[in-house]
Structures are given as C-alpha cells and as structure tokens.
C-alpha cells in the first residue's frame, strides 16, 4: 500500500466529512421552527426583545461567513446545540446516552451476519444449482426483500408473544434489581436476542447474495481451473483459492452499503423499543426535535465515512494490487 493511496483516501474522507458538516448547516437554516420564528410568535413581544434575542443567538450577523464560521467552530468542539424535547439537554449528551445500545446491537449483528452470510453465500455459490443453493438463495432473496421491522414483528409474535421465550421490549426488565452482574448480563442477553436475530437475519440475506455471485465469478477464473487440474480436492480449491479472492470485492461492497444498511437496521430498534439511535431518531421525528435529528445524521454520516475509510485501508493491506 503506497503512501499515495493512503493520503488520497484520507483527503477524500476529510472532504466528505466537510461536505456533511456544510450540508448540516444548510439543513439547519431550512428547518421549520427556527429560534427566530419561535420568538416572533410570542404575542406582545417587543421589537427590542426580538432584536436582543437575535443578537444573543448570533442571528443578526450575516449567514455567510459569520454564522457559518461560528457553526463550524462549535461543531468542531462537539457542541451540536440543545434538544427541544429533553428540555435543553445538549444534543451531544442525548445522542451519547443512546450510542452504546445501537453499537452493541449493530456491531454484534454485523459480526454474526458477516460470518454466517459469507459462509452461506460461499457454500450456495459452490453448490450452484443444488438443493442447498435453491433453498439458501431463495431464503436470502426473501430476507433481502423484507424490511427489518417486518422481520422483527414476525419474530416478536412467534418467539416473544407466541412461545414466550424472550422479552419483547427494552434492554432490561423494568424496575428489576439484580443480585449480581451475571444476572444483569443474562437479562440483557435475553432482551438482546430478538433484536439481534432481526438485524443479523436481515443482513445475512444481502451478504449471502453478494458472496454467492462473487464466488461464482471466481470459480470461473483460470487459476481455479489450474488448481483443479493440479488434482487438488474441491474443498481445498474452495478454501484456499476461491474464497480468499472472492472475499475481496465483498469487503468493499459491504463497506459501501454500510450507510444504507445502518439506516434500515435502526428501524428494527423501533419494534423492540431498543433504546438506541433508531428509536431516538423516530422519537425526535414525532416530537419535532430537529436538533437531535440532525445530530444523529451528523453522527451516523461521520461514522459511516470513517468505517469506509477503515475498509479502504484494510482493502489496501489485503490486496497488494491496489496502488491508485
């Protein structure tokens, strides 16, 4: 991996983050319910008070460059404004308290889905046309066509309400006190089971489809034919020749799709009242808490850009052919 590749990717990521921050500024100015309009709607407010409020909020200065520069400065310090719904709590605190549940749910979900989805895709692609391929590919297509929250509702009805195996809402039992940390962890795991199953099943479909077509393409390559002609066993060819090469395009596709997937996966939280960013986004939308909504957008966008950067760098390490 050359330093040119590295620096190019870094510059790209920085430019993209700068664009996100700028877009966020523009969106904030377009938002309904700006502080200015809120002040002017109070009956009997004097022109003097109105002017003072504008001056205090910096709204009397020009949008560009004064307001824009002030915005960049505060954003860089992690100041994302104040939530309407949570009575003036800073947006960064509101979001911070909701990051961990999403990170655990989505991180574990990704992990399970990547391992299981890639394995399923590799196997179905290898056994193309066989019964496992038909069943596996059909299942993947159905999972791919299903919104996460629908999958969640189905699992909830079957395993939560019908069989009663798992709790269906929240992260812990309400009002429970735990004898030990292990008890608490066990309760958490029971609550995690259904949301985690939803997120991973939803992702498995997409990853398995990607991996299947990638492995089919790889199996047609000349070096695979050569490996077979050398008399290597089929499973050796698959494990040591086909899969490593088929993994590469899949890695970058997973990274590219990340932003799209996160967005869909956070809707699974809503079904199970999982107290993460997805539930927070929907709460903010219904209560018109726009600063929080934008904070989530900023946070998720930057997270996705950084994850993409990481994937690019890993890709560069894995594939020595990558130079430009």
């Amino acid at each position: 991996m050359g330093s040119y590749y590295l620096s190019r990717r870094l510059v790209q990521a920085i430019v993209t983050i700068a664009m996100i921050v700028a877009l966020n500024f523009v969106l904030f100015r377009l938002m309904p319910g700006s502080p200015e309009r809120a002040t002017i709607r109070i009956p009997g407010v004097s022109a003097e008070v109105y002017q003072q409020t504008r001056a205090r909020l910096g709204l009397d200065k020009a949008i560009f460059p004064d307001q824009f520069v002030a915005y960049i400065g505060t954003t860089l310090q992690g100041d994302l404004g104040y939530s309407y719904k949570y009575r003036g709590q800073p947006v960064s605190e509101v979001i911070g308290s909701r990051v961990w549940p999403t990170l655990i749910l989505f991180g574990l979900g990704e992990l399970v889905a990547i391992v299981a989805g890639l394995a399923l895709g590799a196997y179905t692609g290898w056994r193309r046309g066989g019964p496992v391929d038909y069943a596996g590919n059909g299942l993947s297509l159905i999972l791919y066509s299903m919104p996460y929250f629908l999958l969640g509702m189905i699992l909830l009805v079957i395993f939560g309400v019908g069989l009663g195996w798992f709790p269906v809402s929240g992260m812990f039992n309400v009002g429970a006190s735990y004898a030990s940390f292990t008890d608490q962890l066990f309760d958490f795991a029971r609550h995690l089971a259904l949301p985690l199953a939803t997120v991973s099943l939803g992702l498995i479909g997409q990853y398995s489809i990607l991996m299947r077509s990638s492995i089919i393409e790889t199996l047609g390559e000349d070096y695979v034919t050569t490996a077979r002609a050398k008399g290597l066993t089929e499973s050796h060819v698959l494990r040591n020749h086909a899969i490593p090469n088929a993994l590469l395009p899949t890695v970058s596709l997973i990274a590219i799709n990340l932003g799209y997937l996160i967005a869909g996966a956070i809707t699974a939280e809503v079904v199970f009242n999982w107290p993460g960013l997805g539930t927070l986004a929907v709460e903010a939308l219904t209560s018109r808490d726009y600063p929080v909504l934008q904070g989530i957008f900023l946070f998720l966008s930057v997270a996705v850009v950084l994850a993409n950067l990481a994937a690019d760098l890993i890709y560069g390490l894995l594939d020595p052919r990558v130079q430009a």
Partner: protein, 316 residues
Amino acid sequence: MTAPTLTADRLRSERLRLRLRGWRDFARRFSRRREGIVGAAIIAFFAVLAVVPELIVGPLETATTASGTRLAAPDLTHVLGTDELGRDVLNLTVHGARISMVIGLLATLVTVSIGVFIGIVAGYIGGWIDTVLMRITDFFLVLPTFVLALILAPILREIIGTSSTIAGIRMTLIVIIIVIGVTSWASTARIVRSQTLSIKERAFVDRARVIGGGSGHIMTHHVLPNVVGLIVANTVLTFAGAILTETTLSFIGLGDPFQPSWGQLLDAARSSGAPGLGAWWYFMPPGVCIVLIVLAFTLVGGALDDVLNPRLRARR
C-alpha cells in the same frame, strides 16, 4: 416526385420490422428466464389490484364505514381479520396496493430522472463539471440517505404544506416521493455517466456535432435515447428499492393515514400494539405483499439485466 416518399415509407416499414424483430427476440430470451416470468406475473397481479381495488373489495373502509369489530381474528366475513378500528384488513391491503405502487412508480421516475440528468451532463460535458457532479454523487452514495430523508421530510412539509392534493395524491405522499428521489439517484447517475462516456465516443455523435448539433441537442436526441435502453434493468431494481424506502418512511410515521400504503398499515399495526397482542393478521397481509412485490421487481430486474446486457450473461 413520388420516389422520395416511397423510400421514406420503405425506410419506416423496415425500421418497424427491425424493431418488431428486436422485441420478439427480447420476448423469447426473457421467457426463458423462469424467475423473470414469475416476477412479471406477481407484478401483473398487483398491478390489477392497484388499478381496480374497488371492484375487488369495494371502497376503502374508514373509521366511520368500518365493517367489523375491533382487532377480530380472521373468520368467514373478514378473511384477514380486522384492524384496531374494525376495518377489514383485506380491504385495506388491496387498497394499499394502489398507494404503494403509485408512490413507488413516481419515486422511481423522480430518482431515474435526476440520475439520468446528472449522469449525462457529467459524462458528456466532462471537465470540472464532471468532477464536481461526481464528488456530489459519491457523497450521496456514502451518506446514510435514510437519515437524510428523515430530516428532509419535515422541511419539505413545511415548504409545500400538507393540506392540498396533486392529481388526487395527498401532499404528505408527494413529500415522500420527492424525498426518495432526492436521496436515491446516485447509483443511477454513476451508471448513466459511464454509459455516456462510451456513447459520446461513437461515430453518430461525432456526425451530429459536425453538422452543427449543439451540446443540448446531442444530449437529449442522441445520448439520452441510447442511455435509456441500457438502464431499464437498473430502473426496475430502483422500483424495488423505492417501495422498500417508502415502506420504511411510512413505518416511522411519515405516511398518510388517509391514503394508507402497506408501510402505513404496518405503522398503524405497530402503534396499535398488534404484534404484542399476537394479532398477526393485521401486519402479515401488507407485510407479505411488500416482500412479494420487492422480490418480484428484484427477480425481473435480474432477468432483464441478463437479457439486455449480454456481456455479463456468460458469467452467470
């Protein structure tokens, strides 16, 4: 003086004959793809539901015209049970087909129009315009566009209001259509740009330029018709994505209760607590419809891709 018209007539009929042969050839190859036929049949089924829902289940039931008791399980009068207002779920689901399909279709048109416009302009004009447009496109490809849609929807609602209708479609749904279009054009733009780059090197574009055709004329009359044929498969796949996005946006409360799409029904089912009460009949019918239609568009899109882009055919 009759000779030129004769030639023109012959030319026209020859062109028609070739086009017919092209269609027949396409139909023959498409009909060999079993999954494409299955998908097309499913789409046709839902298209019928979307065109004449009143003939099948009568007018859309509302809170005042509800025909059953609340959240009743399926029986002989209500084959799919009722919702929390006593409305027949079969009635709601069949009417939901029209709303979901119309939003999906219009959102696809907006998406593809933006994508084609940006792709052709970037690819044909090139230079710094190309660089800027492609930076923006890549930006939209990386962005979690769904969260952006959550922010754009309230802004748009504020700007264009929610009370009026356009051609019988309520403004809330117009907002959804625009939001989907604005957030999902990027991959189409990428594909169109790369096609434009190859088309603009062909001889007929040079000829058009030599006889004095301007850039605008060449883009609309020479590049556009050639690009359109190449993005048919992509458009069908965009349709699947548009329906999924619409469903998700409606599910989190951006839909319209007066014109319920399938996603809106799922939202109503969740907020009325149907899953927790085990009322599967409320959310399964719209849910199964969504899966079927998205699956159908995905299958048809894949089959079309195989048939229309033969270079890739050998791979599969």
